[in-house]
Point group: C2
Chain length 562, copies 2
């Protein structure tokens, strides 16, 4: 491996001043806009050509070393996490935590190097990708980072009490992780838009190290959470959770201080946020990795107007839904912890009905939006935009999380005959959810690929200024209503977007802040075994939450475009 | 969903005759080659532009519907297969098989429609992707298809004997699958290179239907095989396999004819081929899906010369390795079924040593190849080639299968202290395998992205003809040895390629034809539980086999390029 490591350190000489060729390379994706006519002067520039090409195509093995590193860490991590879950005798959680500490420390060292050395050099970061690191990702990162930090504090407090009879690694790991949280959040906050041009190989490897560290942390957290929940459920499913959370862990080694059990209960509640944090950090790191060595053309930035005066029904209906959702969510959280089974079932009933109402209304409005798309045909944007492709990929991939939960619910409920109103509601929820996510994905992706209305206006005006076109082109333009006042179609689209946006927010809040009907309603737990259903929900739900946040951000963009 | 379905049926008018703009759009990726200087004539052609762009960018939702279909079938299939594995009471294998029969019939109907209607129309298939459906994929498809067909025959023969007391669906499924095998193999043999331009939406949906059907069949086969092997191992690990294969399944319903048990034993041996067949078909269908609506430029096809007279050491060493491997493989297969534990351990010992020798020699020669790459710097090819990207993606993805098996072995052996010579050898094998695959991936990908030597010669001559270049360019050209006789570097590269190619063949043959040291050596079975290790091997190994075949094909291409 050592022999292959030294890649030719391609010297990057992409000053904005030799824009002639750089712009040429990048503007080829924008055929419809004629401002930069490509000029190829044959052999006179051919020496220069090769240089440009070298900068454009880092395919041949430049990303390869970093990819190999990533795969190896991930596979080793996967094997270690699985074996610490399945064979607790030979590989204890301590072994896994030592591995994780090593990864975290290495990642921090690289981040330090990057922030102190690489990013300060001249020509290191010539371009910033405006699309990378959007505000919702950054805000989510900080929010989940803070809650993960809290989790680490609780963990430290808990395991300090076990220091006299348990490994000190159990204290060391949350300490290192807490430091890492600060480091990484700082790093991603300030550098997530960098298109690094210097030390590209080292940076790529560092970024894949960061990526795989986050994914291994994610795997470990998902596994720990699943095992914890399986243990609770396994012991006795009918007795209240509280009692078992208190008893669990007190087998052989007793805690030396009083607050231990409270802390323990608290940090298990915070696990989902840590899982979410790792996902957010992975997504941002992946975008950074894709941007290493990339030359971003400064696109003509169309200013989108954000005005709400024309929309009314959508936001109001959405807000009502959010308020109603919050009320039922609070009721659910209060009643689900009660001992009385009757009350727990009532809480579930309300939660199911509310969710079905929300998701049905969303499906209906998305359908209206799709019909409008059919009526209001528009050009598709033709430029290649890596960030948009990545956005769409992340949207579809994260929706798989909710898909898989819903399909597993669906199969379980149908197979058991859907007896009882709760099972019927559960089934209905699963079906409507699948329909809604399918439609919403279609709506968002279609919306992101349509030519924004103000770009069309600009183009249309350019057409008019340039030459007197034939009548059919005129007709085409007038159809798209250049007038300032938006047509009814655009208004309806905006109403739909605003409504969906708010509905996604409430669908995000409920699972993110602890609604777990998947465990409170025990049909699936009985149907699949404990471990399997826990694994499905613990892997699927964080992606589902990520999906809702991502959908909110994407719907906002669609809103601005229409 | 219905409302969104009708996509605008973009009329494809891409006759080769309007090559002016089509070539322009496609040739933009080939800046270094000056034959087609891009000409943008501003607004005079802009009406035409939009049309070309429309053909180029089917991103905005055209692939979306087919993607949604694919995801839904896959998720439903995944839920059904898992629940039929985990909850045999509510969802029996019969339910799963009815679902599979539905999928298979639907897929066949679409294939029939495609072959009879779509592909016969004018303008339906204007272009063929020369890179798609390479001969090794087709040959593998037919080979594994035949063996899967045999499996289905055995299955039919077995379950006919149970007809009096078991569901007739168990006979119907292999019958339908056997018909499907013929259909699909015929379809992929003749149409895998099509770039379909007509009925694009329907074709996309049909192809994703085919893709997801194959993947669900793959999932079902992997699960069945895992359950079967777990049941065998679970009953009693020390008694010979044969006895248990005979007993298994005879619980409640006895077979009405004598040959039943023989057939049953036979068809379980053939499962891995069916798994492999599904993977091959999936890969080919995916490539076809990517090619729908694609406009392939007729690249200047550089003829690669295949001559072997300059290489000697590589092929001879490789052939020796293949022969030695075959001999030890036969010995292993004979001895591993013996009752005597001593003999079984000896068989394992020989198999492990042989594999370590092969893989170590491969690592060594790959390292030499990598050093030569460092010495013999060359341009990277700059054109975007979707098939090559896909090839590289498939290579890396399929290598994950072997990676994960090796890492799980490694962790298990290290955690158990690697006691006994068999465990030490197993550990060594895992480590060398990881190193070898990493190096080989690097070598192949780097090789595929380097400018082929004869293309360089052609370019160099073009330079010379065009103008008298400055001295530095001359020097650059002479460095790359335009002379007919290949330099020593190229010779060494070819030796390495030839050796690796043959070594990959023997590494393909051994697992493909039934070497399963992962189950014969019981360390990992004890360490992880049965189900888990079975799942890992049954998912990982078919990808590993696919990887070896893919590597052989890729190495052949690298050989021709150097």
């Amino acid at each position: 491996m050592i022999f292959c490591r030294k890649m030719p350190n391609v010297v990057m000489t992409a000053h904005p001043s030799n824009g002639g060729t750089v712009t040429q390379v990048d503007s080829i994706h924008h055929l419809p806009s004629p401002p930069h006519p490509p000029t190829v002067d044959g052999a006179s520039e051919s020496g220069h050509h090769t240089e440009v090409v070298k900068e454009r195509t880092p395919q041949g093995g430049e990303w390869l070393l970093s990819g190999i590193i990533c795969i190896n860490i991930l596979m080793l991590g996967c094997a270690l996490v699985s074996s610490s879950a399945f064979n607790v005798v030979a590989i204890t959680p301590v072994h896994r935590q030592i591995f994780l500490i090593t990864l975290l420390v290495l990642t921090m060292l690289w981040m330090l190097f990057y922030m102190v050395v690489t990013s300060r050099k001249d020509h290191a970061v010539l371009f910033k990708d405006r699309h990378a690191g959007p505000v919702w990702l950054k805000a989510g990162l900080v929010l989940f980072g803070l809650l993960s930090f809290l989790m680490d504090i609780f963990k430290i407090a808990t395991y300090v009490g076990y220091l006299h009879c348990d490994s000190p690694v159990k204290v060391a790991y949350p300490v290192v992780q807490a430091v890492f949280l600060f480091f990484q959040t700082y790093f991603l906050w300030f550098h997530s838009r960098d298109c690094v041009q210097l030390h590209t190989n080292l940076t790529r490897c560092g970024l894949t190290l960061t990526l795989s560290t986050n994914l291994v942390v994610w795997m470990a957290a998902v596994t720990e959470e699943s095992i914890h929940q399986t243990e609770i459920t396994h012991l006795n499913i009918s007795v209240s959770h509280k009692l078992y959370r208190a008893n669990y862990g007190a087998k052989m080694c007793t805690c030396s201080h009083m607050a231990c059990e409270t802390f323990k209960e608290a940090f298990y509640y915070l696990y989902p946020f840590n899982i979410e944090y790792s996902l957010f950090a992975s997504a941002m790191t992946y975008i950074m990795w894709k941007n290493v060595g990339r030359i971003v053309e400064h696109h003509k930035h169309y200013k989108f107007n954000f005005y709400v005066k024309d929309v009314f029904v959508g936001p109001v209906a959405g807000l009502l839904l959010v308020v109603a959702g919050l009320v039922t969510f609070v009721l659910y959280k209060i009643n689900i912890l009660k001992e009385d089974k009757e009350k727990r079932n009532k809480a579930l009933l309300i939660h199911f009905i509310m969710n079905i109402v929300i998701v049905s209304l969303m499906s209906l409005s998305t359908m209206i939006g799709c019909i409008i798309y059919r009526l209001d045909r528009r050009e598709y944007v033709s430029d290649k935009n890596p960030t948009r492709s990545l956005d769409v990929g992340l949207l579809v991939a994260s929706s798989l999380g909710q898909f898989i939960i819903s399909y597993f619910s669906l199969v379980a409920t149908v197979a058991m005959g859907a007896q009882g109103y709760l099972n019927v509601l559960n089934l209905a929820w699963a079906v409507v959810m699948v329909v809604e996510i399918g439609l919403q994905n279609y709506f968002i992706i279609e919306g992101l690929h349509r030519e924004p209305i103000n770009v069309m206006q600009a183009n249309a005006r350019a057409f008019q200024d340039h030459t007197e076109m034939a009548n059919d082109v005129e007709g085409q333009i007038s159809r798209f209503s250049i007038s300032k006042k938006p047509s009814w179609k655009r208004r309806v689209l905006r109403e739909v977007c605003a409504f969906l946006l708010l509905a996604n927010i409430i669908l995000w809040i409920m699972p993110a802040f602890g609604a777990r009907p998947q465990f409170d309603h025990s049909a699936e737990i009985y149907f699949y075994n404990y471990t399997m259903w826990n694994a499905i929900v613990n892997i699927g739900l964080p992606f589902g939450i990520f999906y809702r946040m991502h959908a909110v951000a994407s719907l906002f963009e669609v809103y601005l475009r229409d």
